[in-house]
Amino acid sequence: MQKHNQKEHLYKLLVIGDLGVGKTSIIKRYVHQNFSPHYRATIGVDFALKVLSWDAETVVRLQLWDIAGQERFGNMTRVYYREAMGAFIVFDVTRPATFEAVTKWKEDLDSKLVLPNGKPVPTVLLANKCDQGIDVLMNNGIKMDQFCKENGFVGWFETSAKENINIDEASRCLVKHIIASESDPVQSVEPDIIKPHLNSSKIVSCSACFKS
C-alpha cells in the first residue's frame, strides 16, 4: 500500500511512430523486462502500465498507449491522443524512411493535442534498434540535437528494446519534463538533450551508434 503522504501521478503517454519501428517492443521491454521479435502487430491500440517510484514522496504511474503505426488507420487512431501528457515518437535507425516520417508524426501530434497551457506535450524522440549497428541515418549527435531543437522534442535517445538500452533513461527524461511542465504551467523547462553515452556509464554498446 501507498504510504500516507505519498503523492501519486498518473500520466497517459503515447508511443507513436511508423509501423514496425519497435513501439510494442520498447513498451514490453520497459514494462515486462523481456523481448521477443514476434510481438503481434498492434491493431488500434494496446495498453500497458508502468509504475515508477519517482522519489521518496512521489509514485508515478505511466499509462502507455501503444498506437498502431499503419498509416491507413491514422484517421481512426488519432482519437486515442486525447488527454495524453507526453509522447514518445519512435523510428527505426535501420530504415531512413521511418526517420523521415518523424516530423510528420510530430506535426500531427502537435496539431491534435496540446497541454492545457496551450503548449505542445513533451515529446521524446527514440532512435530504436540501435543494437543493429547500422548507421544509415548519417546523423551524428550534434545534428540530432539540432533536429530536436528545431522540431520541439525535449530530448532524444538511441534505444534498443532488444538489448535494453536507454529505455528507462528516455522515460525518466520524459517524466521529468512532464512534471516540470505541470508544476510550472507557464514556464516550460529548457529543452535538454541528454546524451546517453555521456550520461550513463553502463551503456557501452550505444556508442557504436554515434559517428562523432
Partner: protein, 659 residues
C-alpha cells in the same frame, strides 16, 4: 432559500475539448430575493464553508463568478485546475469521490473547483436544456440571455424536476418546438405553457396518449426521457418515495403503464433505463458441432450438398467439428458452390490452382532491379515480411524459426497483392489469413478461401476505411435500439462513435478470442445466419454485457477504451453467440423495427401499421417463437434437387433448440 439540492455534479470532462476528467460535487440553491430570484451552484466544500455566498451576486444580475466563455474553454486556457493529481484520481480509481466535509478544506480547491461555481438571476435565463433521452440520471444546462452556456449540472441524486418545478413558480417554461429537450423561458403568456404540468399531473395518461399517437421511431427515442419525468413526478407527489429503491419504483411504474419494460439495474446509481417493444431477451441454447456423419449424410452420391440451408442452420447453431472444417469452410466461404458435384469441384480446383500459380509467378519473377523501380511492390513486400513474422507466432502452426507456415503466409499474401494490386497488403490481413491457412493446410485452397473472405472484408482495408465507418454507424444504430440509455451514456463520455470497437470490426474479433474460438466464431458468421451483419449483433452482445460495469464505475473516454481493449481473451464465445442470437430474435420479432435497423439486418419489414398497434397490449405476446427466425432465412434457394421435403424444413429447426 426556496430550493436546495446536494449531489449536483459538474462533469468537468464533458466539454468536447476539455481534457480533464473529474466530477465536482456541489450544492444547487434557488434563492428568492426582493425582486429577483438567484440560481446558485457551488462546489460542496465552498458551499459548506462560507456563509457569504448569498450575497456574492448582490451587485450584478448576471454571471458573477463563472467567467469562462465557451471560446476560452475551447482554447483550453488557464481554466484547467492545476491539481492533476485529483484529475487522474478518476482514472485510477474510477469511483466517485466525495470531498471531505470539513470546513478547513475549502481553500485547497480554491484554484480548481471554485472556478466552476456560478450564479445567475432568473431574469437572465434564456433556456434550459435537459438530458438526452434515456440517460440514467438527469442533467440540465442553463443558457443565459447573452448566450452564455453554463456547465451542465448532473443530478446524481435524481431530482432535476423538483428544480424545474421550483423555477416554474417564477417563470413560464415552454418546450421548444425544435427540440423537446429545450425549455424556453417565456416571460409573457402563461396559458400557452403546455404539457409539462399535464405530464406531472397525469403521467401515465399523458404518456400513453403520446405513445399511441407517435410512430414507433419517435416514441422509442423519447420514451426513456418521458419515463424520467414520470419517475421524478412520482417522487414529487409522494415525498416519502424519495428513498425508495429503484426496483420498487420500477414495479410502481409497471403497474401504472402496462407494456412498459424496465430493465432493472442492481446498482442504485442509474435507476431506470427503459426499453420497449424488444421484449425480453429469449433464452437461446446452442447445439453440438456438426459431426462428420451429419455432414456425410447431407451429401448425395455425386457429392452435392442436398440441403444447404439446413446444414448452414446446423453450423450456425453449433459450428463444425474440426475435421470437417477443411472441407466445409470452402463451401461456407463460397469457394465451392453448395450444389456442385465432387467432380465439378475437382475441376474447379485444378483451374484455380493454375490461376494461383500464374499470379504467384508474377511476383516471384520480379527481379531485384525491377523491384527497385516499383516502390509499391517493395512497400507491400516489406509490410508483409514484417507482419508475417509476428502473426500468431505462439500457434504451433506458425511458431519457431523458418516454419513452413510462415513461408506460406508470406507467399499467399504476396500473391494476393497480385490478385488485387490496388489494395495490396494492409495490416490486419495476415490475421484474417492465418486461421484459414491453418485449417486448409494447402496453399491454393487457403488463397482462394482468403480471397472470398476478403471480398467480405475488403472495405475495411480500403484507403478511406469506408467499411469501418459504415459499420460503426450501423453498430450505433443497432445499439441505440437495443439500449438507448447506454448509447447516451457513451455519448456523454465522447465515446458515441464507438471507436473502441475498431479492432473487433477490422479483423472480425480475431484478437479478442483464442485461436480455437475464432475458428468457431467465424464459421458461425459465415453461415450469414440468422440475418445480415450478425457480427454487429455480436458487438452489441459484448457491449451489453459490459454496460453495467462501464456505467456503474462511470468510465470515461480513456477507461472505456481500455476496458473494451482488455476484454481480449476474456469473452466466452458460446455465451456471446447465444446472446447475439437472442438479440437477433428480439429485433426480428419486433413489430415496428425502425427502417434503418431492418436494412442493416436485411430483414423484410413486414411491420404492422402504427394504426393497428395497440400500446396497451402486453408486449409479452409478441415474444419469441424461434421458428419465425428460421422461416425468414430458410425459404429461398433450397438445393436444386433437394429431396428433403418441406416438412423437414419446418420441423428440424425446432429440434435445434431443445428447450
Amino acid at each position: 432559500v426556496v430550493y436546495e439540492q446536494e449531489g449536483v455534479f459538474i462533469h468537468s470532462s464533458c466539454g468536447k475539448n476539455d481534457d480533464q476528467d473529474s466530477l465536482i460535487s456541489g450544492i444547487l440553491r434557488v434563492i428568492e430575493k426582493e425582486n429577483e430570484v438567484i440560481v446558485d451552484w457551488r462546489p460542496l466544500d465552498e458551499a459548506l464553508g462560507t456563509s457569504s455566498i448569498f450575497y456574492a451576486g448582490k451587485d450584478s444580475s448576471s454571471v458573477v463568478e463563472w467567467t469562462q466563455t465557451p471560446k476560452e474553454k475551447c482554447s483550453r486556457g488557464a481554466d484547467r485546475p492545476s491539481s492533476y493529481e485529483a484529475e487522474w484520481d478518476m482514472v485510477t480509481t474510477v469511483s466517485f469521490k466525495k470531498k471531505p466535509h470539513s470546513n478547513g478544506d475549502s481553500t485547497a480547491h480554491a484554484n480548481g473547483e471554485s472556478k466552476w461555481s456560478f450564479l445567475f438571476s432568473l431574469a437572465d435565463l434564456k433556456s434550459i436544456k435537459q438530458n438526452k433521452e434515456g440517460m440514467g440520471w438527469s442533467y440540465l444546462v442553463f443558457c443565459l440571455k447573452d448566450d452564455v452556456r453554463l456547465p451542465a449540472l448532473h443530478f446524481h441524486h435524481g431530482d432535476s424536476k423538483l428544480l424545474i418545478k421550483c423555477l416554474e413558480k417564477h417563470v413560464v417554461l415552454n418546450e421548444s418546438p425544435q427540440d423537446k429537450r429545450i425549455l424556453l423561458v417565456n416571460s409573457q403568456n402563461k396559458s400557452l405553457s403546455q404539457s409539462f404540468e399535464n405530464l406531472f399531473d397525469e403521467p401515465s395518461y399523458g404518456l400513453l396518449q403520446k405513445f399511441k399517437r407517435d410512430p414507433y421511431t419517435v416514441t422509442m427515442g423519447r420514451f426513456s426521457k418521458v419515463t424520467n419525468y414520470i419517475f421524478d413526478s412520482f417522487r414529487l407527489s409522494d415525498p416519502s418515495s424519495q428513498r425508495r429503491p429503484p426496483s420498487e419504483m420500477a414495479d410502481f411504474l409497471n403497474d401504472a403503464i402496462p407494456g412498459l419494460k424496465i430493465n432493472q439495474q442492481e446498482e442504485p446509481g442509474f435507476e431506470v433505463i427503459t426499453r420497449i417493444d424488444l421484449g425480453k431477451q429469449p433464452e437461446v441454447s446452442r447445439r453440438e458441432p456438426v459431426s462428420a456423419e451429419e455432414w456425410a449424410k447431407s451429401m448425395d452420391s455425386e457429392g452435392r450438398i442436398l440441403n444447404a440451408d439446413y446444414i448452414k442452420q446446423l453450423i450456425f447453431k453449433g459450428g463444425l467439428c474440426h475435421t470437417l472444417r477443411k472441407e466445409a469452410w470452402k463451401f461456407l466461404l463460397g469457394y465451392f458452390p453448395w450444389n456442385s458435384t465432387k467432380e465439378e469441384r475437382a475441376n474447379l480446383q485444378k483451374r484455380k490452382t493454375d490461376e494461383y500459380f500464374r499470379m504467384k509467378l508474377q511476383w516471384k519473377s520480379v527481379s531485384e532491379e525491377q523491384e527497385k523501380r516499383n516502390s509499391r511492390l517493395r512497400d507491400y513486400r516489406s509490410l508483409i515480411e514484417k507482419d508475417v513474422n509476428r502473426t500468431d507466432r505462439t500457434n504451433k502452426f506458425y511458431e519457431g524459426e523458418d516454419n513452413p507456415g510462415l513461408i506460406l503466409l508470406h507467399d499467399i499474401l504476396m500473391t494476393y497483392c497480385m490478385y488485387d494490386f490496388d489494395l495490396g497488403y494492409v495490416q490486419g490481413m495476415s490475421d484474417l489469413l492465418s486461421p484459414v491457412l491453418y485449417v486448409m493446410e494447402n496453399e491454393v485452397d487457403a488463397f482462394w478461401c482468403f480471397v472470398s473472405y476478403m471480398d467480405q472484408m475488403h472495405q475495411n482495408f480500403e484507403e478511406q476505411m469506408q467499411g469501418m465507418k459504415t459499420q460503426l454507424i450501423q453498430l450505433s444504430t443497432l445499439l441505440r435500439l437495443l439500449d438507448s440509455g447506454f448509447c447516451s451514456y457513451l455519448e456523454s463520455q465522447d465515446s458515441g462513435y464507438l471507436y473502441f470497437c475498431f479492432r473487433w470490426l477490422l479483423i472480425r474479433f480475431k484478437r479478442e478470442f483464442s485461436f480455437q474460438d475464432i475458428l468457431r466464431l467465424w464459421e458461425v458468421m459465415w453461415t450469414e445466419l440468422p440475418c445480415q451483419n450478425f457480427h454487429l449483433l455480436l458487438c452489441c452482445a459484448i457491449l451489453e454485457s459490459e454496460k453495467q460495469q462501464i456505467m456503474d464505475k462511470h468510465y470515461g473516454f480513456n477507461e472505456i477504451l481500455k476496458h473494451i481493449n482488455e476484454l481480449s481473451m476474456k469473452i466466452d464465445v458460446e455465451y456471446i453467440l447465444c446472446k447475439a442470437e437472442a438479440i437477433s430474435m428480439q429485433m426480428m420479432n419486433c413489430k415496428e423495427l425502425p427502417q434503418a435497423v431492418s436494412e442493416i439486418l436485411g430483414i423484410e419489414n413486414s411491420s404492422v401499421t402504427p394504426d393497428s398497434y395497440t400500446g396497451e397490449d402486453e408486449s409479452g405476446a409478441v415474444l419469441s417463437c424461434p421458428t419465425s427466425l428460421y422461416q425468414s432465412v430458410s425459404t429461398p434457394g433450397i438445393a436444386a434437387n433437394g429431396t428433403r421435403d418441406s416438412t423437414e424444413q419446418t420441423s428440424e429447426p425446432q429440434s435445434l433448440t431443445p428447450a
